[in-house]
Symmetry: C2
């Protein structure tokens, strides 16, 4: 007996960072850019809410959550769609725009889910070169053909930690054929205090050819619950709603996200924590000749080219001590580098102490 034949996909599946190491307790996971401070106490409270009707289907339209988003970010309720993580927004955009002959441009080093969802619908993924691990507008424009339908950019970019300035983004949108949809992933925008930075939403709120993606998995600390959203022209959002799974965002996530949006103090504390801790970690690593990008989001791309140890060596050594970083070889194909998430004060301290000990 044989299995009925299915399609073949040229996909390298996404490998999540490890969360466990055999035989080691008390592990620190600095591999997934999760929230350093956990989650707002308001969110914790809402989970204790006994009024939650677990047995009833969630609100498919996520009305209350979209209202709260619209209020908080001053954007049109009708231009918002929620997803099971921003992942699902990427998936829907690919399903909506891409046929097998179509092309998608993604920067060489960028979030893996762009290429994966594009490949699932059979589109061709075209990589644009980066310059010093920064997205290059000219290289993107060079790759445009008649078949180009989408350009995906995360700003700041994961895993490089670099970003396009406000002026560069405007320049890109101008130079890009207006019939190509620009998808800007604002996943880490809350952390950004750099003066020449502006979020995709703030820049292109009223554009007809930009969709912005946001997540609750990073600074809001809701990664376990799966919730994100997209913002775009009403026409695109309506079409996405047509192909959206009818109950795509679970009700606990919807309620938690509403509460998370309300807690400004938690977000402000998280931003302050990140800037302080990221600089502390960065300085400590510099002394070991491990260099990194300037502080932007809640992670650093560590460069081992001047260091006496290789990225792999340090990765394994740290892992044997219960500290997990993200290898950038798998999937991203970036050699001799590691991605480090900024953790809690305690976690960062243990990380610094441990890595120093490896060098001594």
């Amino acid at each position: 007996m044989t299995v009925p034949k299915f399609k073949k996909f040229k996909i390298e599946a996404y490998k999540p960072g490890k969360s466990n190491i055999a035989k080691i307790r008390n592990i620190i996971k600095l591999s997934a850019n999760e929230s350093a401070l956990g989650v707002s106490p308001r969110v914790k409270k809402i989970l204790q809410n006994k009024k939650l009707l677990i047995s009833k289907y969630p609100d498919g339209k996520a009305k209350n959550l979209r209202k709260e988003i619209s209020k908080k970010f001053k954007c049109d309720f009708e231009r918002i769609i929620c997803g099971a993580g921003s992942d699902e927004i990427i998936q829907m955009i690919c399903q909506l725009y891409l046929k097998p002959s179509d092309e998608v441009i993604v920067p060489q080093y960028s979030f893996l889910m762009y290429r994966i969802y594009a490949q699932i619908v059979g589109a061709k993924v075209v990589f644009s070169k980066e310059k010093n691990f920064k997205v290059s507008i000219n290289e993107i424009i060079k790759k445009v053909t008649r078949k180009t339908k989408l350009v995906f950019i995360a700003n700041p970019n994961n895993p490089t930690g670099t970003y396009l300035t406000r002026a560069e983004l405007i320049d890109l949108r101008k130079k890009l054929n207006k019939n190509i949809l620009l998808v800007l992933d604002d996943a880490y925008f809350e952390y950004m205090k750099n003066k020449d930075y502006k979020s995709g939403l703030d820049l292109f709120k009223n554009k007809d050819n930009v969709v912005v993606i946001r997540t609750f998995s990073k600074i809001y600390g809701l990664a376990s619950l799966r919730v994100g959203w997209g913002h775009g022209p009403k026409k695109i959002i309506s079409a996405m709603n047509l192909i959206r799974p009818p109950f795509n965002v679970n009700q606990v996530a919807q309620m938690a996200a509403i509460e998370a949006l309300k807690d400004r103090k938690f977000i402000n504390n998280s931003v302050k924590h990140n800037i302080r801790e990221a600089n502390k970690v960065r300085n400590a690593l510099q002394k070991l000749k491990i260099l990194s990008n300037e502080v932007t989001a809640n992670f650093l791309l560590l460069n081992f080219d001047r260091c006496k140890f290789s990225a792999n060596y340090i990765f394994n050594k740290l892992q044997s001590k219960g500290i997990i970083l993200r290898s950038t070889e798998d999937g991203y194909n970036i050699k001799n580098k590691l991605r480090l998430t900024i953790g809690s004060t305690k976690e960062n301290m243990r990380f610094i102490t441990t890595i120093k000990a490896i060098f001594n």
Copy 2:
């Protein structure tokens, strides 16, 4: 400025049953086949668990949940994949098997998500006629062409409430070309105490050309959380894992589903409740000349052909009294019928009293 062009879909979007009616409080929702008894107290407890790390990504492989499923249903861990509702399993099967020229056979009156996900990937949906609102094997076989890739059947079927017997299912699999994948949706199997019925999983656990779908949204009462699973040959499950969103099932759902599986008493009570209450409701309606299928799952398809009122009239009358049933005209295109979910004892009592009053 214009919106970049996207694909056109010939899809009638899924319309969830209403949960609210303007100006009416104390609504009874008997439109979505949700659990009559809510959720196991063990599940409620787990949600209070303070160890849940909300800010960390869920286990993408859902290992613990798959282990529990494998233990409970005596099937191979490696042949199980979890999804954000059984919806996502249907979606992945369509993505895996269907190209735009391919065909999918679904019975005339069947769960809408089969046709919707097939249409999203551009496949052609072929409807097989039913006989007296029951799936017909001969009609399915008649529709097979060289392009047929998948056959979807829910057993018992939603919204008709009829089912194929054990013998009929075996007959179908025999008559169907072995290269066509049969997808059997066991969504309501727990409710089935009919002697000639056997679940898809029990019948085809070791088959190479059957995938079985199961859900936690019905008898387990976890509809708000979004979790379901699929069982099939390892080759198919591995390929589905390649296109599965990396963190597709949220962690709360995974934990709740594990607890739900452990509470046998809750499931047994739910089954007993359903048989008793469904018969009570069915008998009461018969006196009003509203006929229905024999009792199978947790819903009845009500037939108004011999009744002095039309299905529409009763639908609207009930709605004005705060009781929501499911119209089968939208989407299903079944005239003069309504689908009624068996609710709690109190809900069913209010339903019977209210509908009797309409007739007096």
